[in-house]
């Protein structure tokens, strides 16, 4: 439970981000995306549209993907957060990162962290999605290079890699 300190304007939160625990004093109005970027220096999570549309800021919050521009940092008190920085394990790219690399799933790369976080949620739920299911799952992630075709192929490639690793 967040507790008020030094007047009503700041609160102390405890958040686990990518396996590391943080204790921070924040204003209630601080958005989760700004907490991750400005307070923790995790700038892989991007601010794109800032209006809950584009999905560049998608992170995993307690096992569900959220747009971190539309969640308050105080709402993540006590939560487990995974960002794009937490996807690589033991120096190895996550299979989804590998899929985007192998299938040219990015051009400018701005939308990629959000695309990868949303894809991870999809593949957890549905390890062998159809093209249509991938498109539906990534509806909330916009790519302004319009590289959607290769993004779908990247996720399909990742699904195959993950099936082989099981």
């Amino acid at each position: 439970m967040a507790q008020a300190v030094a007047g009503p304007q700041t609160m102390v939160i405890e958040v686990n981000v990518n396996g590391k625990s943080y204790r921070s004093e924040v204003e209630p109005r601080l958005l989760l995306v700004h907490y991750l970027r400005d307070h923790l220096g995790l700038t892989g999570t991007h601010v794109g549209c800032d209006t809950s549309q584009c999905g560049a800021c998608v992170v995993d919050l307690n096992g569900e993907t959220v747009k971190s521009c539309t969640v308050l940092a105080v709402q993540a008190d006590g939560a487990q957060v995974t960002t794009i920085e937490g996807m690589m394990q033991d120096g190895q790219l996550h299979p989804i990162q590998e899929g985007f690399w192998a299938k040219h799933g990015l051009q400018c790369g701005f939308c990629t962290p959000g695309m990868i976080m949303s894809s991870a949620a999809l593949l957890r739920r549905n390890p062998d999605p159809s093209e249509e299911e991938i498109e539906h799952a990534l509806e909330g992630n916009l790519c302004r290079c319009t590289g959607y075709h290769n993004i779908v192929r990247s996720v399909q490639h990742a699904a195959r890699l993950m099936a082989e690793n099981r």
Binding site: M1, A2, P8, Q9, M11, E27, P28, R29, L30, L31, H34, D50, T51, S52, Q53, G55, V58, E64, T65, V66, K67, C69, T70, V71, L72, V74, Q75, S118, A121, L122, H136, A137, E139, G140, N141
Partner: protein, 285 residues
């Protein structure tokens, strides 16, 4: 973009939340936050405090005990996955038409109804079903018929110190079918127009019909002309077309930069036809 300063409260019971609302008259209740937080970032809303309902576990989930009770903080995802709600097929189906995967994870049924956005989906769905709402205020709980709930654009009959807690729906009998059809705005996913239909069949005759429109009107509204065209008639293509033709009659429809009043009237007709046809199939089981 970020909101103006506010105090943040996370009560663990409805009673505590109501007390906080009384103590903070300029507070807003925070549910899924996907309407309120964007409005606060744009400074269209500047509440002095937020009362976040996420820690009140009693407000989440679906229970069936004769009637089906949906907690106000039940998310779209939970609606889509609830086995209890399969008896009313449009409730689960429509969840996948709201926003995107991230909105469906955070957005809540109670939040949507209490916000009464003119382009929301579940306002029309719950109006067509004829839901009973439960709200808790300083004087305890009261029931609100959904017919009396939507007052105007972003306005409901909830008092300032009341919290919407439950949405109660009755599972329909065997010969009742439901369907929701919408024209999604291509960028936002909101309903440019949406039509929810609940159809009761007696053989091939339409015994009961409740049709509700969203997106095209300032608040979710029954399309009574379409209902009258259906009730007591054989539910064939001709009857459905006649209902579609009159669906926009008597409704005050909006026009804006995205869609003119005339186009929305056309959409209401087309979507009524689709929704009634699918509800008929659903009723036939």
């Amino acid at each position: 973009m970020f909101p103006t300063q506010f105090g943040y409260h996370r009560p663990e019971s409805v009673q505590e939340a109501v007390k906080l609302l009384q103590e903070n008259p300029d507070a807003k209740v925070l549910a899924g936050g996907h309407s309120l937080l964007p409005a606060m970032k744009l400074r269209l809303a500047m509440p002095e405090a937020l009362i976040d309902l996420h820690a009140i576990s009693a407000l989440r989930g679906v229970t069936a005990n004769g009637a089906i009770t949906i907690g106000a903080m039940t998310t779209y995802n939970q609606l889509a996955e609830s086995p209890e709600l399969r008896a009313i097929s449009m409730i689960g189906e429509a969840a996948r038409l709201v926003g995107d995967a991230q909105v469906q994870v955070r957005g809540t049924l109670g939040g949507s109804l209490a916000h009464s956005d003119p382009a929301a989906d579940y306002t029309a769905i719950m109006l067509a079903i004829g839901a009973q709402l439960k709200a808790v205020g300083p004087n305890g709980e009261r029931s609100i018929d959904i017919e009396d709930f939507f007052v105007d654009l972003f306005t409901t009959s909830l008092a300032d110190d009341e919290i919407l807690t439950e949405i109660v729906v009755s599972p329909p009998g065997g010969s009742v079918g439901t369907a929701y059809e919408k024209q999604r705005h291509p960028a936002s996913g909101y309903a440019v127009a949406g039509v929810a239909a609940v159809i009761e069949l007696d053989g091939e005759t339409c015994r009961g019909a409740r049709i509700a429109v969203t997106g095209a009107t300032t608040k979710a509204t029954r399309a009574s002309a379409a209902e009258e065209a259906l009730i007591g008639q054989p539910l064939d293509e001709k009857t459905i077309q006649r209902a579609a033709d009159v669906a926009g009659q008597g409704l005050e429809l909006n026009g804006d930069a995205f869609a003119s009043e005339e186009y929305r009237r056309h959409l209401v007709g087309v979507l009524t036809k689709r929704a009634v046809s699918r509800a008929r199939e659903d009723a036939r089981g």
